[in-house]
Symmetry: C2
Subunit: 506 residues, 2 copies
C-alpha cells in the first residue's frame, strides 16, 4: 500500500464512520426531544423509533467489511504515520469496532427500547413517589446490563466491562482504590465543617426567584464563560443534560426551582461546562474519534470546573453579583456579596446529589457505586434497593430520605441503562481540581480575571490542553500531559481545604 492508496481507503473508512455519526446524532435528536418536548402519550412510539435507529447504527458499527479494512489500515498508519490524526482515528475506530462486534444486534435494540421506556416510566413515576411502577423496569434494565457485561467480556468484575464505555482503561479496582480513602477523608472534613460554630445563613438562597429572571442570569453567565448560543440552546427538562446533535449544535438543559436559587443557576453552569468541551472539539473531525470527547470523567471535569471552581468563587460573583441584584431586586436587596458567597458554598449533608455541596458530593457517588456493584452482581434484590439506599445515606451522611423521590429515584441514570457511570463524576472532581491547579500555575491569579468578566484565558487553556485532543489520549495520559502529574485525589483535597477551611473558620 502506498500513501495515495492509503488515503483513498482511509477516506472511505471515514465516510462510513461519518454516516454512523449522521444516524447517531439523529438518534440523539430523538432523545433530546424525548427529554424536553415529547407529548405524554407519544412515549411508546418514540421508544420504537429509538430501537429501530439503534439497530441500524449497530449494524453499521459492526459491519464486517469495514472492520476488516480497519484491521488492515490501522497498523499501517501506526507504522507509517505515527502520531497522525489518521493513525489515532483508525486505532480508536478499530477498538470501537471490536468492542461493538461483541454485542448481539438483538441486545443492542432491546437495550435501546427498554431504556427509552424505562426513562419515560421513571419521569412519570418519580413525582408520584411510585417505586412500584418503576421496579420491574429497573429489573429488566439490570438484566440487560448483565448480559451486556457478559457479551463485552472482562477480567475481574462485570462492572469493568461497563466502566470501559465511560472511562477507557479504568477498572473497578482502581475506582475502589481511589473512592474509599477519598470517602474517609471527606467524611472527616465534613464533620469538622458541620461542627464549626461559623455557619452561613442558608435562608439567603430561599424565597422567590422568578423563572424568567433565573433564565436571564443563567443565559448571561453561560454566554460570558464562552458557551456559544449560535451553536446551542438552553431548554427545560426533568434531569438536566448536555447533548451534541451536530458539529455546531450542542444543547444544554436545566430545571427551575422558583423557591431556591442554586438549582438552575449552578445546573446551567455545569451543563455549559459540558457544552464548552463539546463546542471545543474539532468540528472538522465530527463523527471520528479525534472529534469526540475522551471519557465521562474528563467531561465531568469540565462541568465541575466551571460550576464549582469558577462559579462558586468570590471572583466570579464580584463580576456577576451586581447583575443578580438587579434581576432579583427584592430578594437580594439586603444581602451582601460576602453573605451570598458564603451561602452558595454552604456545606451540609443533604439528600439530592445534584444539589450536594462539594465536600459531601463524592459521598453520594460512593453510595451509588457500592449499590450498583451489588445490583449488577445480583446480590441486592431490586425490591430491597430503596431500603439499602436509605441505610447507606444514614451511614455516610447521617440523614435518611423521607421518600423515594428524594431517595433512590432521584437520578435518571439507572433507568437510562447508565450503570458504571456514577464513579466518573468523582473522577471528574479529581481531574477538575488537578487541571485547575495546573492552569493557575501557568496563568496566575484567575480570580482577578473572573472578577473583570474575563473567562477567555482559562477557556483557551482548556481548549488547548483538553478539548482540542478529542479521544487522542486516554484520560490518564491526557491529565499527565496537561498537568505534568499522575492523576491523584490529593489536588481535590487540597482545593477543598483551601476553599472551605477559611469559610468555616477552621
Amino acid at each position: 500500500m502506498d500513501l495515495q492508496q492509503f488515503h483513498r481507503r482511509y477516506a472511505q473508512v471515514c465516510q462510513h464512520a461519518r454516516e454512523i455519526a449522521l444516524l447517531q446524532s439523529t438518534l440523539d435528536v430523538l432523545t433530546w426531544d424525548e427529554q424536553t418536548y415529547l407529548p405524554p402519550e407519544a412515549g411508546p412510539y418514540r421508544a420504537e423509533q429509538i430501537r429501530h435507529l439503534a439497530g441500524l447504527i449497530h449494524e453499521r458499527r459492526t459491519d464486517r467489511a469495514w472492520g476488516k479494512e480497519l484491521e488492515q489500515l490501522a497498523p499501517w498508519a501506526q507504522e507509517h504515520l505515527p502520531y497522525s490524526a489518521e493513525a489515532d482515528n483508525l486505532r480508536l475506530l478499530l477498538r470501537d469496532w471490536r468492542r461493538q462486534s461483541r454485542l448481539p444486534q438483538s441486545l443492542v435494540e432491546e437495550l435501546a427500547h427498554t431504556t427509552s421506556r424505562a426513562q419515560q416510566v421513571w419521569t412519570q413515576a418519580r413525582p408520584q413517589n411510585d417505586y412500584q411502577s418503576f421496579a420491574p423496569w429497573l429489573q429488566r434494565v439490570l438484566e440487560l446490563k448483565r448480559q451486556q457485561a457478559q457479551a463485552l467480556g472482562y477480567q475481574e468484575h462485570p462492572y469493568d466491562a461497563l466502566l470501559e464505555d465511560y472511562e477507557p482503561e479504568c477498572t473497578t479496582a482502581q475506582v475502589r482504590q481511589v473512592l474509599l480513602p477519598l470517602g474517609e477523608a471527606l467524611r472527616e472534613l465534613l464533620q469538622r465543617i458541620v461542627g464549626s460554630p461559623q455557619q452561613p445563613e442558608p435562608g439567603v438562597l430561599r424565597g422567590r426567584w422568578p423563572q424568567d429572571q433565573q433564565e436571564k442570569l443563567g443565559h448571561l453567565a453561560a454566554q460570558q464563560i464562552g458557551y456559544d448560543f449560535r451553536r446551542g440552546r438552553l431548554d427545560v427538562t426533568a434531569h438536566p443534560f448536555c447533548t451534541r446533535l451536530g458539529p455546531h449544535d450542542v444543547r444544554i438543559t436545566t430545571r427551575y426551582d422558583e423557591t431556591y436559587f442554586p438549582t438552575a443557576f449552578f445546573g446551567i453552569l455545569h451543563e455549559a461546562g459540558h457544552g464548552l468541551y463539546e463546542q471545543g472539539l474539532p468540528a472538522d473531525q465530527f463523527g471520528l474519534p479525534r472529534g469526540e470527547a475522551v471519557s465521562l470523567g474528563v467531561h465531568e471535569s469540565q462541568s465541575r470546573l466551571w460550576e464549582n471552581h469558577v462559579g462558586r468563587s468570590l471572583g466570579f460573583w464580584r463580576y456577576f453579583f451586581p447583575e443578580a441584584r438587579e434581576l432579583f431586586a427584592p430578594q437580594l436587596d439586603q444581602v451582601s456579596l460576602e453573605q451570598f458567597h458564603r451561602a452558595i458554598n454552604r456545606v451540609a449533608p443533604s439528600l439530592i446529589r445534584v444539589e450536594a455541596d462539594e465536600v459531601s458530593y463524592n459521598l453520594h457517588i460512593l453510595i451509588r457505586f457500592e449499590l450498583e456493584l451489588e445490583l449488577l452482581e445480583d446480590n441486592l434484590p431490586v425490591d430491597d434497593l430503596p431500603e439499602a439506599w436509605n441505610q447507606k445515606y444514614e451511614h455516610y451522611l447521617g440523614i435518611r430520605p423521607a421518600d423515594v423521590a428524594q431517595g433512590v429515584m432521584q437520578d435518571i441514570h439507572w433507568s437510562a441503562g447508565l450503570v458504571g457511570y456514577f464513579p466518573t463524576y468523582s473522577l471528574g472532581n479529581l481531574y477538575a481540581a488537578q487541571l485547575m491547579h495546573a492552569a493557575q500555575e501557568e496563568l496566575g491569579d484567575l480570580e482577578e480575571l473572573w472578577a473583570r468578566g474575563e473567562f477567555r484565558p482559562l477557556l483557551e487553556w482548556l481548549r488547548t490542553q483538553v478539548h482540542s485532543h478529542g479521544r487522542r489520549f486516554a484520560p490518564v495520559e491526557l491529565l499527565r500531559r496537561a498537568t505534568g502529574q499522575e492523576p491523584s485525589a490529593k489536588w481535590l483535597l487540597h482545593y477543598l481545604k483551601q476553599r472551605f477551611e477559611p469559610l468555616y473558620g477552621l
Copy 2:
C-alpha cells in the same frame, strides 16, 4: 395462496412499511426541530442528516423484493378480500412503490438536502428582504422539481406529475377549470363588498395583545374543539405547520404578532384543524395507507373548516368572547361581541395569504398557481419573479407589495420544494364548504351548539365521514360519500354569500 399464507406474507409486507414509517417519522422530527428550535449555525449539518435519512427511506420505499411481493399480494387481496383494509393497504402501497421507483436515489437525496438548506436560507433572508440570497436556491429547487416531474412522468403537463403527490387523481386541467371561474366570481363578490358603505372597524383587532395571553386563548380554543394536548403540542415557528411524528404525537406551531390578534389565534385554529384530522386517523394503522391522510385538499378542508366556518362564526364567539375579554382586559373593554365578530370577518384585499379574508383568499392561490406553472415550464426567469408577483397582485387584488417579505418571499413552500401544493388550498376551501353544508343538513343548527362550547358532534361527524377512512377513498369519492354530491365550487360561493352579504348589508 390460501388465506393463512396470505396473512403471513401480508404481515411481512406491513412490517417493511412500518419500518419505513419509523424512519420517515424520525425524519419528520428532524424537520420539526429544524423549524422550531435549531440553533442558527446548525443548519448545514441538519441538512446532511436529512439527506442521509431521506436516502435510507427511499432505498426501502423502492425495495425490489418488497415491490414484487406487493405485485403478487395486491391483486389477490382485491379478488379474495375486496373492500378490506388489507386490500386497500396493498393497492396503495403498490401504487406508492411504483411511483417512488421512478425516482433516482440521487435525486431524492439531492432534493431533501437542497430543500432543507433552501428553507434555512429563506428563514434568514425573508426578514432581511433579501431576495438575492434566496434566488439561486429557488433556481436549484425548480431544476430539481423539473427533474422530478420528468422522472415521475405525466400525460399533459409536468405540473400534473407534482400535483399527484398532493392531490391524487387530480390534474392541472381540472384545477384550471375550477380556479379560473371561481376567481372571476370572487373578484365580483370582492368588489361589491369593498364598495359597500357598511364596513367593520379594523382598529378593533390592532393594539396590544400580549403573547402569553394569546397562547392561553389559543391553547384553550384548540383544546375545546377537541385537539388533544396529551398527544400533541403547540410551538413557535416562522411559517406555521402541523406535523405527525407518531401515532400519538401530532404537533402544531404558530407565530405571534403582539400588535394584531388574528395572526396567531386563527393560525392556531387552522393548525388544530389539521391536527384533529391527524389525531383522528386510525392509530393502529400508523405507517400504512389506511392510517394516512388522503390528500392535502382534504387536509386543508379540515383546517379551513375549523378556522373559518367554526372559528369566525358568531356562535363560536358567543362562547369564547367572555374568555377573550378577561384575557385581553384593557383591549376589549369597549368592544362588543358584534363589533368583534364583524372585525374578524373583515374583507379587504391584502398582501399576505395566510392573513387573507375568506373572499380574497383564493385569489392569492390563483396568483401562485399561475406563477408556478410558468416557473416549472421555465417561462419565467427566477430573477423576474418578484416583479411578476407584484403585477399579478395589482391585477387580481389591486394592491402592490412594498417589499419581497410582503410579496414573493412570504411563503415557505417553494423553498421547501412544495411546487403544486398551492391549489390544494383552494380545493380545501371547496371541500370545507361542501362538508359543512352536509354536516349541517344532518346535525341541525351547529352554531347553537358552538355557542354552548359543544364541538364534539361536528368532530364526531368528521371523524366518521373523513378521518377514519385514511387513504381508503380518493378525495372525489370521499366527498361524494360524505356529502352525496360531486365536488363543486357552488357550496363555497353559497357559503361566502350567506356569511358576508348580511355582514356588509348587501
